[in-house]
């Protein structure tokens, strides 16, 4: 029993806790001449908070993540609800069709979106063919909107699946009871189905927000200069800029936001009747 | 086998197979079982009977070893087993949900106890065949539990528990999941297996009639303590407490009652509705007593000339072979239930009419009132 504890906590400490701790500590160091000085200072945080461009990038990214979560919540709920209303054979098919993209390479999906949004991309070809525009629209790629659209598409399954699962958990008897007590379809939806499936939506929104706010691949590949996000800012500290402590400090802020969102989601997504 | 411990026990009692002394189980501040003593005799069918929450399953789990007792000792055949690991205890359990291994066939399930002991193939097969024969499952050895009916699962679980030839089998409400007809059938079956094998059965149930049908002795539990132990007849005719009396269907409780005279094995008691004679001596510590009368003990008019009382009819329900009459006493607001054989010739008494009913002194009991 003791050996078990040692192995498990040993692993957790060695590969999860200590790395996280060292990253937290790193945020308080600084760099002189491309080498890290191991002396605690708040300089990184002061820099981040006082530097306009860091601050705007931070809030721009959070806002973008929030927008993506909101859009996906609406799209995702509609889709999950649609799937839920299908007969069982259809449902299974639709759910698997949703899970397949989830297991596809993230980077590939982003790349594929580039093929859709680009100047010579599918969307432009369709718009041209339909005569909606006269020449290709370049505003579709390499800006923040492209990042929004790409993240929204790529993260959609993370929204639909949790909502669908919570819908599926609603027992039929509960719906019958609502109907039996005189609730119409819309009333049943508003008073029974929606409250019972909301935890799924909250989990989905949490996933979407956390993943969107920390992402750097999509902005890197479809964002262009305008789509410079916080994730890219962090990533660049470990590349060309080579300022790991600053990168760690930037990430600490991101982690605080992520933990706060996870915490709020746990509170909201775990309503009283389930505790 | 015989040893010095027999001396202190009550007369005509052999060394018990299972001897529990001062066994208590606490969950935090909650006493699931108050320290209690219990002896299980070799070869008997002993049922622990009680409502849910009475601690009966906890007691069984403590004996089996699934629940560590907070205090007290358990001896099996004279050996202390309180600290013995589950897998070394010399007896087996039939679980409430059967706990059949879903990934094993009936044969594999039944042979499990022998396999983990490294029994040889030949011997193992013989033993499994005979165990399957006892429970009548010879044909179904290759089936999986999910392909069996409830009764067949039950038989498999029993065969599995018997395979290591334990001297004691613990059964935790094994019939609870079966429907009424099958349950009666399984009661007879379990009883006959127990008789023929001579294995001691310690059986837990909340069903009074099940306990009465099957058991040699019944141990009634309530709120973590033993309320009374005795043969089914004892408990039925001589309940010691209001709780046992009503558990065994004596739903008419007249209390308070006071002993006014006791001689020649007849005790006279005074109650709010009259003075009655009760067969048997007065219980010791005779305060806080109640008089329990079975509904079927009542007779109308001259049919039961003793212990008569005048009661007003409230309602009459015909339930086939029997008729249940609800009655009320005029002064005290006491209500009574009377069960009589339905009489095709006579019309039932009208509500509001007054009847004189009586009951036999041997068909009532003086019991202690509520504890605490």
């Amino acid at each position: 029993m003791l050996a078990e504890d040692c192995v498990l906590w040993g692993f957790a400490a060695l590969f999860i806790l200590v790395p996280l701790a060292s990253f937290l500590v790193y945020g308080f160091f600084f760099v002189v001449d491309n080498s890290v000085v191991y002396r605690p200072t708040l300089a990184n945080f002061v820099e981040i908070l006082s530097n306009d461009s860091y601050r705007t990038t931070f809030f721009k990214t959070l806002r973008m993540a929030l927008e993506v979560s909101a859009i996906n919540l609406v799209l995702g709920y509609a889709t999950a609800y649609f799937i839920w209303l299908r007969p069982p054979a259809w449902r299974n098919f639709l759910v698997i069709a949703l899970a397949v993209p989830l297991l596809m390479s993230y980077i590939i999906k982003i790349y594929a979106m580039r093929g859709v949004l680009g100047t010579n991309g599918l969307l432009n070809s369709v718009l041209l063919a339909l005569g909606i525009v006269d020449e290709p629209v370049s505003a579709l790629l390499f800006n923040l909107t492209a990042v929004r659209i790409t993240l929204s598409v790529v993260l959609l399954p993370f929204m639909v699946l949790p909502i669908y699962i919570s819908l599926e958990r609603i027992p039929n008897s509960v719906l019958n009871a609502a109907a039996d007590l005189g609730a119409g379809e819309l009333q049943t939806f508003a008073r029974v189905v929606l409250p019972l499936s909301l935890p799924g939506g909250i989990v989905g929104a949490m996933f979407t927000f956390v993943l969107a706010s920390g992402d750097f691949l999509a902005p890197e590949l479809v964002g262009g200069i305008e789509g410079f996000t916080y994730g890219r800012l962090i990533f660049s500290q470990f590349g060309l800029a080579f300022n790991w402590p600053l990168g760690a400090a930037l990430s600490i802020l991101l982690m605080i936001v992520a933990l706060a969102v996870i915490y709020i989601a746990r509170r909201l997504g775990n309503p009283r009747w389930q505790r | 086998m015989a040893n010095h411990e027999t001396g202190g026990l009550a007369a005509n009692q052999d060394l018990p197979l299972l001897r529990i002394r001062g066994l208590g189980v606490r969950f935090g501040t909650f006493n699931a079982i108050n320290p209690l003593d219990l002896d299980v005799r070799d070869g008997e069918f002993l049922t622990i009977l009680g409502p849910s929450g009475s601690g009966k399953t906890t007691l069984l789990r403590a004996i089996a070893g699934f629940q560590a007792p907070s205090e007290g000792g358990i001896e099996f055949d004279g050996r202390d087993i309180a600290d013995m690991p589950i897998n070394r205890r010399p007896f087996n359990t039939v679980f409430q949900d059967y706990a059949l291994f879903p990934h094993m066939t009936v044969r594999e399930n039944v042979s499990f106890g022998l396999r983990v002991r490294g029994t040889g193939r030949k011997r193992l097969n013989d033993r499994v065949d005979s165990a399957l024969g006892i429970v009548g499952l010879e044909e179904l050895g290759a089936r999986y539990p999910s392909q069996l009916s409830g009764g067949q699962q039950q038989r498999t679980a029993l065969a599995r528990a018997m395979i290591c030839e334990p001297r004691l089998i613990l059964l935790d409400e094994p019939l609870a999941a079966l429907d009424a007809a099958l349950r009666r059938q399984m009661q007879n079956f379990l009883k006959s297996v127990q008789r023929q094998s001579g294995i001691t059965f310690l059986f837990v149930t909340h069903d009074q009639s099940e306990a009465t049908t099957m058991s040699d002795r019944i141990c009634v539990m309530r709120s973590g303590s033993i309320e009374q132990i005795g043969t089914p007849r004892d408990l039925y005719y001589r309940p010691k407490s209001k709780f046992v009396a009503s558990f065994f269907g004596a739903s008419n409780i007249i209390e308070p009652c006071e002993v006014i005279d006791a001689r020649n094995d007849v005790t006279s008691v005074r109650t709010a509705v009259g003075t009655f004679a009760v067969a048997g001596p007065a219980p010791e510590g005779g305060s806080g007593l109640a008089l329990a009368v079975r509904p079927e003990a009542f007779g109308i008019g001259n049919g039961k000339p003793v212990n008569q009382v005048e009661l007003t009819v409230v309602s009459v329900s015909f339930i086939g072979s029997e008729t249940i009459t609800e009655l009320r006493h005029r002064d005290a607001s006491l209500e009574f239930k009377m069960k009589t054989r339905s009489d095709p010739a006579a019309s039932p008494p009208a509500p509001g009419s007054v009847l004189t009913v009586g009951f036999d002194p041997a068909e009532c009991a003086l019991v202690s009132g509520d504890r605490g």
Binding site: L85, Y106, A112 | -
Partner: protein, 271 residues
């Protein structure tokens, strides 16, 4: 009645668009992988398998694929052992505070943005003097997939009636025998399911890997490098192959999941 119809139609159209958005880009990549391009325009008259043929002569891609497989297999074996131990541990003492803490810790790398998992391991390995390579990627992937494997196994363990373990012990089985004869056979499907899922995740993992890879990159890292350069049919061909592989894995996973009773939500929630 009419209003409900309208609602149905709008639900259906939103869902249609969602599925379209999920599949169209991928389909496009697939189609384009058979054609050449000139000045950014597709030449529809050039259908060929040329780009696939070129892939097979690209040695660095083969190396990256091999790396991906080595990383995936090793990480999953390690993560499965730890996750199974952890699940058994937590299942045996559901109310223990230490067990609950352990569960939180296991979930951290999965819940936090991958960028944080990646860079914390990067900093850690640098500080303890481990240089970047396959080993560091393996650790990153193992930590990342740990939570998923753990969750699947724990769900199955919790669904196993407690009395099964008690029954085995009651019949004389030791702890080891109970694990070997009762628990392990019931974990076979969940282990397979978790393994497939974890391999698919590891095979596609990019963000953590980018932080932890030195000169030996996995396939997605190699892809990332190629993509930054441009949009070529060769990439399309490679992507098509990877997607084919992912789809096969997903279908296998879906079957394994259903056979292990995973879609039976009631079974999971009831516990």
């Amino acid at each position: 009645m009419k209003r409900l119809r309208l609602l149905d139609v709008s639900l259906a159209s939103v869902s249609f668009l969602v599925y379209l958005a999920l599949y169209l880009p991928i389909l496009l990549v697939f189609v384009l992988s058979f054609f050449s391009m000139r000045r950014g325009r597709v030449r529809w008259d050039t259908f060929s398998f040329e780009w696939y043929a070129r892939l097979f002569s690209n040695e660095s891609l083969g190396e990256a694929l091999l790396n991906s497989i080595i990383v995936g297999v090793t990480a999953i074996i390690a993560a499965t052992v730890i996750a199974t131990l952890a699940a058994l541990h937590v299942n045996a003492r559901p109310s223990s505070r230490s067990a609950r803490m352990l569960e939180y810790v296991i979930f951290l790398p999965f819940l936090l943005p991958p960028i944080i998992t990646g860079l914390s391991l990067l900093i850690y390995f640098r500080e303890i003097g481990v240089s970047r390579g396959l080993a560091t990627i393996i650790v990153g992937h193992a930590v990342f997939v740990l939570a998923i494997i753990y969750r699947i196994i724990l769900t199955r363990l919790n669904a196993l009636s407690r009395s099964l373990v008690e029954a085995a012990q009651d019949l004389g089985a030791s702890r080891l025998q109970t694990f070997r004869f009762i628990i392990l056979p019931n974990l076979r499907m969940p282990l397979l399911t978790a393994g497939i899922l974890a391999f698919a995740l590891s095979f596609d993992e990019t963000m953590i890997t980018l932080f932890l890879s030195g000169t030996d990159g996995t396939l997605p890292v190699r892809l990332y490098a190629m993509m930054r350069v441009g949009f070529t049919p060769e990439i399309n061909a490679l992507i098509t192959l990877i997607l084919g592989f992912s789809i096969v894995l997903t279908v296998v996973f879906a079957f394994a999941w259903r056979r292990s009773g995973g879609t039976d939500n009631n079974r999971i929630t009831r516990i």
